[in-house]
């Protein structure tokens, strides 16, 4: 185990190269590793063995909260806190409360989805060894990188380098922690 480095960063020049490299790293049994890509590559989640995102759970909770908030707010204001007859209509009815509850469902779902995405991605995180690399500009432009972290239990500098070279890496650099 190398303590002084964060990990290895290996360059690949096309989407299909990193796709196959990701399969090999996954099959080698690494857990703490990642791909840096300028855009989401179709199927790369499967090649990396990343499981389905948990974001929808946040969305569901947000949506339910929003709908409940809408309905209970309209009931509270119109039927409980200050009952007032307007146009001979009932103090509360789920029918006239629906449009606003519907909008609040969407509003809360949006916030929960985005909040969930940030939480799961642990963003904002303005400091990261990958961002310190001089290659990150290209990594967000037209080049693809595999990063294997040193904290992975299977990590061994020489073996990881060999794996990445065998997977077709064009260039391998060490990331400082």
């Amino acid at each position: 185990m190398a303590d002084s480095i964060y990990g290895l960063m290996a360059r690949f020049d096309s989407a299909s190269e990193i796709f196959h490299a990701a399969e090999q790293v996954r099959n080698a049994g690494y857990k703490h590793w990642d791909c840096i890509t300028p855009f989401p590559i179709h199927g790369l989640d499967g090649a990396m063995g990343v499981r389905r995102s948990h974001v929808p759970k946040f969305s569901l909770i947000g949506g339910l909260t929003g709908f409940t908030t809408g309905m209970s707010m309209i009931w509270f204001t119109g039927a409980f806190d200050y009952p007032l007859i307007v146009g001979g209509k009932p103090y509360f009815s789920p029918l006239f409360a629906f449009p606003i509850s519907y909008e609040l469902t969407i509003l809360f779902t949006a916030f929960a989805t985005i909040g969930g995405m940030f939480l799961l991605n642990w963003l904002p995180q303005h400091y990261h060894p990958v961002l310190k690399s001089k290659d990150i500009t290209r990594g967000l432009d037209d080049t693809f990188y595999v990063v294997i972290e040193a904290r992975d239990p299977k990590f061994d500098l020489a073996r990881a380098k060999a794996l990445l070279t065998q997977a077709g890496a064009k260039e391998i650099s060490e990331l400082e922690a």
């Binding site: 791909c35 300028p38 449009p99 303005h126």
Partner: protein, 481 residues
């Protein structure tokens, strides 16, 4: 992390073996451009020096916007009587302008959400600018309902529009479609901003790193702050893509509901010509129609100025024209059905309202509407017309004009001639009203010019993702020059 890599068998091995038959697809980025070309092209607009035309347009837009500022200041200091409203026409240009602008916004959400769900990949090069258009249109739209109350502080004080506890102990009337509108439009504005911002994050990260490399620490920090430390990690992309999909999924019912609720403002009332069940779908189709008109009005000059022909191709223009054709035809059909139902429903007031629209005092407005909205889009049946960029742009202006008149016809003709002949009237706008509306184009222009100067006008990551080299199964396509 929530989901680390697990067993070796997570991905079906068959993926690598599947080899679907190649079907010809429209090219979305022409001239076989590389990923790097896309980055350079779009970042270059922001990184380059400010062009002279930008300053000129910006100055003109600021000047025009000042009309809105002055008009509103005059309205607030004097009273809502400075507008031409008088009994029986108490809704006029204010609500016309509100519906006009909010409708324009709908194309942005249609492109970013509905076309995303329908996997229409051509949306990628126009969605950023169209979403920006949505947000700025909502800003312009919001001016009118807020200020048409005259004593504007009542609109912002707690308890009147939004339910906050207040010293008068009153709550808003949730039975009213106008209150539904408050929630619909404010949700729409908020979710549009969120959706737009989420789309911007990866591109802001690109700019952050490019400015850092170029030695501009201030801009790097500024873009970096909003980029949230994005680093292109695929584990992040996985959650990001899911969040984006969900936002698209909820924005779709949102955009449909917003104009539905706007149409409820009219349809739930008892005014002849307003009280019709066709209003929600007809308003939504009209909104998308007018919004695409505005997208073309904005994108054609941008395409020419920034030489974006490889990114906004003839195929993109064709698609937009066809949507205008489809929605314009739906709108024309709705005009016809309104007449049919007015006759078939045997309500003399309803029948009169429609005869009056077409042949009454406001017939001039009605026939402008019919010409612009029903006849104009029919030209898009012809490929020759769609291929003529200048003609497409001119026709898009007609669409914008026609849709403004549609709202004018609906709102004003019905109010000017309602049940009691003794209360009939004729409405003309005042100079203050005309200039206030004129100024909103300046407000929109200022915001849009700032957007094209400081933010990437196209989503780089999304464009790259629809290029052929982005497909990991496309063979070993080299992304380099």
């Amino acid at each position: 992390m929530a989901h680390s890599a697990h067993s070796e068998h997570a991905a079906p091995a068959i993926l690598a073996e599947v080899n679907p038959a190649p079907l010809p697809r429209a090219t979305l980025v022409e001239s076989k451009r590389s990923f790097n070309w896309v980055t350079e092209k779009i970042c270059g607009i922001i990184e380059g020096p400010t062009p002279r035309w930008w300053w000129i347009s910006f100055a003109v837009s600021c000047f025009v916007a000042s009309f809105t500022v002055i008009g509103i200041a005059y309205l607030v200091s004097t009273g809502v009587g400075v507008w031409g409203h008088a009994n029986p026409v108490n809704w006029a240009w204010d609500i016309v302008n509100f519906v006009f602008w909010i409708g324009i916004g709908h194309a942005g959400t249609l492109i970013s959400a509905i076309l995303c769900l329908l996997r229409q990949k051509w949306r990628t090069s126009i969605n950023r600018a169209a979403e920006a258009m949505t947000i700025f249109a909502v800003v312009c739209a919001a001016i009118f309902p807020v200020f048409h109350v005259g004593r504007v502080w009542f609109a912002v004080l707690p308890g009147y529009l939004f339910p906050f506890p207040n010293s008068n102990a009153i709550w808003p009337n949730f039975r009213s479609p106008l209150e539904w509108d408050v929630f619909a439009v404010s949700t729409y504005g908020t979710v549009s901003v969120l959706f737009w911002y989420i789309g911007l994050i990866p591109d802001l990260a690109v700019l952050r790193d490019r400015f850092y490399k170029a030695g501009n620490k201030f801009k790097s920090a500024l873009y970096g702050f909003f980029a949230m430390g994005w680093r292109g990690s695929n584990r992040h992309w996985s959650n990001y893509e899911m969040a984006y999909l969900i936002l698209a999924g909820i924005s779709t019912p949102l955009v449909l509901s917003v104009h539905t609720i706007v149409s409820f403002d009219f349809a739930v009332s008892l005014i002849p010509g307003w009280h019709t069940t066709i209003f929600p779908p007809y308003f939504v189709a009209g909104a998308i129609f007018s919004g695409f008109g505005m997208v073309i009005t904005l994108m054609m000059p941008l395409r020419a100025i920034f030489r974006l022909e490889d990114l906004i191709t003839q195929y993109h223009i064709d698609c937009m024209c066809k949507i205008i054709l489809a929605t314009g035809t739906i709108v024309g059909y709705a005009y016809g059905i309104e007449f049919f139902i007015a006759w078939y429903g045997s309500n003399p007031y309803e029948g009169f309202a429609f005869i009056n629209r077409a042949f009454g005092h406001y017939a001039w407005a009605y026939w402008i509407m019919i010409t612009c909205n029903v006849i104009t889009p029919q030209f898009f049946w012809f490929k020759k017309v769609r291929n003529n960029i200048v003609l497409v742009w001119i026709l898009s202006i007609f669409v914008n004009v026609g849709m403004w008149f549609e709202r004018f016809v609906i709102i004003v003709t019905s109010l000017a001639r309602d049940y009691l002949p003794s209360s009939w009237g004729y409405y003309s706008p005042s100079a203050v009203e005309i200039f206030t509306f004129f100024g909103t184009f300046g407000v929109f222009g200022v915001l849009f010019l700032l957007f094209i100067r400081f933010l990437p006008i196209m989503p780089m990551a999304e464009i790259k993702a629809v290029m052929p080299e982005a497909d990991p199964h496309s063979g070993h396509g080299d992304s380099k020059h």
